[in-house]
């Protein structure tokens, strides 16, 4: 599956709405690992609807492969819905933390300027070290590593990506229907099928 044309690959943001079930993370992870595919980023969190959990998964693949994978994920019993989007279709952020020696910051005015230019914010300031935080796209958080490296960067960590879907009103309405334990016959599984290529639904 992953031997496809490399040129057609791009980052896709897969959003999975699920029940909160022990073992589901493993089931979803093996959908990728059995195909020898790397997960670029994975985040789990609550969703806008109480009791429904949300995974954000980032995969670098062709759309054809992504479409097949989303169907495999949606096949899991505890998965309510799966959507996939390109980076253009979502608002996304990653957060990073940087720990640097405080004396360097205090002594070098240049460092302070660089931090400000990169939108970093101090979270903790202690005598021995200071922790900065930035939030943004990958290139932005990456950039500050390079900047701080010469000044004794002690520790760096970046969070998984979280993403909000730009055109999500329809999905939200759909999900709220799932809240109702007994769906009526009017719950039309396919109503979004014709509204856009990027939307997958049964």
């Amino acid at each position: 599956m992953s031997n496809q044309n490399h040129i057609d690959r791009q980052e896709f943001n897969i959003t999975v709405y699920t029940e909160h079930h022990v073992g589901l993370l493993n089931r979803i992870a093996t959908i990728f690992s059995r195909r020898k595919m790397n997960i670029e980023s994975l985040n789990t969190s609550p969703s806008e609807i109480e009791g429904i959990h949300r995974f954000n998964i980032v995969i670098n693949e062709t759309e054809e492969v992504i479409r097949k994978l989303t169907r495999q994920i949606e096949k899991q019993v505890e998965v309510l819905k799966v959507y996939y989007h390109t980076n253009e279709d979502v608002i996304w952020q990653e957060m990073a933390l940087y720990k640097v020696p405080t004396d360097v910051i205090a002594e070098k005015a240049l460092v302070e300027r660089l931090l400000r230019e990169n939108g970093a914010r101090a979270v903790v300031i202690r005598k021995d070290y200071t922790v900065f935080e930035t939030t943004g796209h990958r290139e932005e958080t990456d950039n500050l590593i390079k900047v701080l490296q010469p000044y004794g960067l002690i520790e760096f960590v970046r969070s998984a990506r979280i993403a909000i879907i730009k055109g999500s009103e329809g999905f939200n309405r759909k999900l709220r229907e799932f809240e109702v334990a007994e769906p009526s016959d009017e719950v039309k599984e396919n109503e979004y099928l014709n509204t856009g290529e990027s939307i997958f639904t049964m």
């Binding site: 699920t18 089931r27 093996t30 949606e74 019993v77 998965v79 799932f178 769906p183 396919n190």
Partner: protein
């Protein structure tokens, strides 16, 4: 998350305090279970203790190995159409189920497997006979769940049955800790499950796709139907026959679909795939509209994918949306249960006959008969062939038996040549190709269809993988006819070594015990034959025998199964020799 709890039972059932183990047994009875294949052990003892009180109502078959137990459950499910139920203890008991789970998963067989687990407070401590069964079985189960509190048992069991049998069926594991089995709790009855909010077993049928499919079919000059097990899983044999007969379209089967339409039906043109029939393979690359019904385009069926039916427009009927476009791109996807979609399609297709097109299949059949089949089924000299054993059996059973094949050359011969008059009569390990499947699956099939003759057809290699299940036959007095076609080789591997590895026969000659003595040790009648003149008489004796019977037939050592689509070749490059 057991959403079942939200459905209050309609009647207020009498509440009583019972153990988790007893609740499980009562639940099984409520679900209509009559037979369990199992093996006890420490972590499942409370369930067995409860079973003791219900041993009249629930027939427990004590197997000789948990792999035998789960294959028996599979055979039971496939012969009866019901859910197979298997019990195993924790640790090694549960891990012995894994091969059968993988087999049931890939062949969509409904199973509920109950495994015992160590006490909840010991989970994760490397306790005696603790294995992480939920993680190990996740990739080979449709669903699994660990129960640690008796209060969860009724809903978890109801959910297990619902998931196993609904939509595209599959195996489910319920891992129940020992404390939950022992725990006394307030049992309010078992209510079957009919809805899980995150689970849509059958996609909603879209009329416009049915219409598009019918339009494609109606303008086709050379339409061709491929059907798989989905027809049987949907109990849609009648609907399928009606569709085929009205549209007049030639239809070929995958080995999982064999028997859904009788072998001798005029429009049944034979078997697909690597060792399938000549015409269906060649003409796949000549048809103009390919209609796939409840099949998943396995690589053993398609051969080389980029040269598979490229000229055809494809209509794909399947209940599992993830199968659509997985291997072969569908021009028109018809999502849904074929029990529902086929009648809609039948209404819209024109009544037709495709005589010229059908004749093409017949012409290829004639070539195949002349070059392959005649010598395989009706040899007059030399040593016996597997094909003639199957042919003689067909004549004696008239095609009414259930044939349970193992894996290897014997499987291909059985699937190619068994005459099947009835549905659910060809039981084989299709997707996983599990050697050792036949004997235990045949035992299960007999329990699932007690009125039918059940014949296990196995090679000398495969039979030795689960031969201990002769003990199950002995103890449960089940009537299974066992044919071992002994070529003194791991024949299918030898065939590949001959054809593709310059006859370098690397570890494929396998010795056998004296099977007749082994059978005798288990109190099972048996006979070994090496001469053609004894074949028919021996088969008659076997079929007439009251109770199980083992017949060993010495067949020619280096026969090959043909036709064959060599690996990496297109279906139209099928070889007759």
């Amino acid at each position: 998350m057991l959403t079942q709890e939200k459905h209050a039972p309609e009647l207020t059932k009498e509440e009583k305090t019972i153990s988790g183990g007893e609740a499980l047994i009562l639940g099984l009875l409520q679900e209509g279970v009559d037979t369990i294949f199992g093996y006890p052990g420490g972590a499942i003892m409370p369930i067995y203790d409860s079973l003791y009180d219900y041993r009249e109502a629930l027939n427990h078959v004590l197997v000789r190995h948990e792999q035998g137990g789960i294959h028996a459950g599979q055979g039971y499910a496939r012969a009866s159409g019901k859910v197979g139920v298997v019990f195993a203890t924790s640790g090694p008991g549960a891990t012995n189920l894994i091969t059968g789970l993988a087999d049931a998963m890939i062949d969509s067989t409904p199973l509920v497997c109950i495994t015992g687990q160590v006490f909840a407070h010991l989970l994760g401590t490397d306790a005696f006979q603790e294995a992480d069964v939920i993680s190990i079985s996740a990739p080979v189960t449709k669903w699994n769940y660990q129960v640690t509190d008796a209060n969860e048992i009724p809903a978890a069991l109801a959910k297990a049955f619902y998931i196993a049998k609904s939509g595209r069926p599959g195996p489910v594991v319920l891992d129940i800790t020992k404390n939950a089995q022992l725990q006394q709790f307030n049992f309010t009855g078992h209510t079957p499950c009919s809805h899980i909010r995150s689970y849509r077993p059958t996609p909603i049928v879209r009329r416009e796709y049915i219409e598009e499919a019918a339009a494609l079919i109606n303008q086709a000059k050379k339409p061709f139907v491929l059907w798989g097990q989905g027809v049987m899983l949907g109990s849609a044999e009648q609907e399928f026959k009606a569709f085929i007969e009205k549209s007049g379209i030639p239809a070929a089967w995958t080995i999982m679909g064999a028997g859904a339409l009788p072998s001798d039906h005029e429009l049944n043109v034979g078997m697909l795939g690597m060792h399938g029939n000549y015409g269906p393979n060649v003409l796949t690359n000549e048809c103009d509209v390919l209609i796939a019904i409840g099949m998943r385009f396995d690589d053993r069926v398609t051969g080389r994918l980029d040269k598979y039916a490229k000229q055809a427009q494809v209509v794909h009927l399947d209940i599992d949306p993830s199968e659509i476009d997985k291997n072969v791109k569908a021009t028109v996807p018809v999502w849904g249960d074929c029990k529902e979609t086929l009648p809609l399609l039948t209404q819209l297709v024109d009544a037709k006959k495709h005589e010229e097109w059908l004749q093409k299949f017949k012409d290829y059949t004639a070539q195949e008969v002349e070059q392959v089949i005649q010598d395989e089924l009706f040899p007059t000299s030399g040593e016996m062939t597997m094909g003639e054993v199957m042919q003689q059996l067909n004549e004696l059973t008239n095609g009414d038996a259930i044939i349970v094949s193992d894996v290897g050359q014997n499987q291909m011969v059985a699937c190619r040549y068994a005459k099947l008059n009835h549905t659910r009569s060809n039981i084989t390990s299709g997707g996983l190709g599990t050697m050792g499947f036949a004997l235990p699956a045949a035992i299960g099939a007999k329990f699932g269809a007690p009125d039918r003759t059940v014949v296990a057809f196995a090679g000398d290699g495969g039979i030795q993988m689960t031969i201990q299940e002769l003990g199950t036959i002995m103890q449960s007095n089940v009537d299974v006819k066992i044919i071992i076609v002994n070529n003194q080789f791991l024949g299918m591997v030898r065939q590949w070594q001959q054809l593709f590895h310059e006859r370098r026969y690397s570890f494929v000659d396998i010795t056998s015990p004296d099977y007749i003595k082994v059978a005798e040790g288990y109190g099972i009648a048996g006979r070994k034959i090496s001469e053609r003149e004894n074949l028919r008489g021996a088969l008659q004796e076997m079929l007439a025998h009251k109770g199980s019977y083992l017949l060993e037939v010495m067949v020619t050592k280096e026969n090959n199964v043909f036709p064959m689509v060599p690996q990496g070749c297109s279906v139209s490059e099928i070889r007759l020799k």
